[in-house]
Amino acid sequence: MAKAFKYGLKGITGYLEPAERELLRGLIDDVVSMLEPREAADQDPLAALVGLDLDVQAPTDRALLRLLPNVMKDDDAGSLEFRQLTERSLRESKIGALRAAAMGLDRKELTLTQDEARLWSMALNDIRLVLAERLDIRDEADADHVHAMQDWSQAEDVESYLALVYNFTTWLQESLVQSMVAAMDRRS
């Protein structure tokens, strides 16, 4: 069984079983493949170089829209214009955090610096946002319902399996954030 992250003399440490590492790698790969920008053949290479994407549209997939939200609530045109300037680099920074977490999973010891821990917490958060969309978590009641699924012997179908995976990543992120807060308190 995995052990919660904690902050101690060695820094922020955790422990994951090989199967749990494999599970997280799979989730990371899924989210990375959602975020990887499509490479259009006729794309302007200079625009791509500076992070511009003039063909971009707001994502139709709800999970992807949650990862890359509109910047204005009631201004689709303004949001789209902003998206053209920023979405590519946002995708890249999210992919960067996810890849950093995947690299951490390849190490034998799960000891994280504060910066690595920050990238891990971002990666776990994006994984949870995607899982939550797949589980149709729309409000606190939905979240409580999913949270009640704690027993792996209950994993009978895709939805219950996803709920258990969601709860595992929630638990992992919570312990990581607590460790980061403890590290921040120690430093100040």
């Binding site: 500076v50 992070g51 511009l52 949650r66 990862l67 890359l68 939200p69 509109n70 910047v71 204005m72 609530k73 902003f82 300037l85 920023t86 680099s89 946002l90 920074s93 999210k94 955090a97 920050r118 917490s121 971002m122 958060n125 994006d126 949870r128 946002l129 939550a132 978590i137 729309r138 409000d139 606190e140 939905d142 979240a143 929630t170 992120q173 919570e174 954030v177 607590q178 980061m180 807060v181 921040m184």
Partner: protein
């Protein structure tokens, strides 16, 4: 810590040409950067309260008490104004919040509805 976005700087906007006509410079006055904008963070059932507070502390440098107050306002009222400033500045904050997975939008300070946080960014 911050995600810097070089919006508008790297695409070679010709400043001279832009300020040549009177009509365009009056537009520039309308979008003057000192018109205050708000950064709004919205509630969602996924983000951990501890994480949201951590992001407010580590990204904005807010003390723990202020970060918790804003986080609870997001949680209870559905939204909170967590920073304000020039449009480009709050837009940069919004991208950083999106990087952390928080649901953030920008809005003109005058159009602020309920849930005013009164936070000085």
């Amino acid at each position: 810590m911050t995600t810097t976005v070089a919006a508008g700087t790297a695409i070679g906007v010709d400043v001279e040409e832009r300020t040549e006509t009177a009509e365009q410079s009056s537009t520039a006055v309308l979008v003057a950067p000192d018109i205050p904008w708000n950064l709004v963070v919205w509630n969602d059932p996924v983000n951990l309260m501890s994480y949201v507070s951590f992001v407010f502390q580590s990204y904005f440098g807010y003390p723990e008490a202020k970060a918790n107050k804003l986080m609870l306002e997001v949680h209870r009222k559905g939204r909170s104004i967590v920073a304000h400033g020039a449009k480009e500045q709050v837009e940069q904050h919004a991208v950083a919040m999106h990087g952390y997975g928080l649901w953030a939008t920008v809005e003109k300070a005058s159009s602020a509805g309920t849930g005013k946080g009164g936070a000085r960014g």
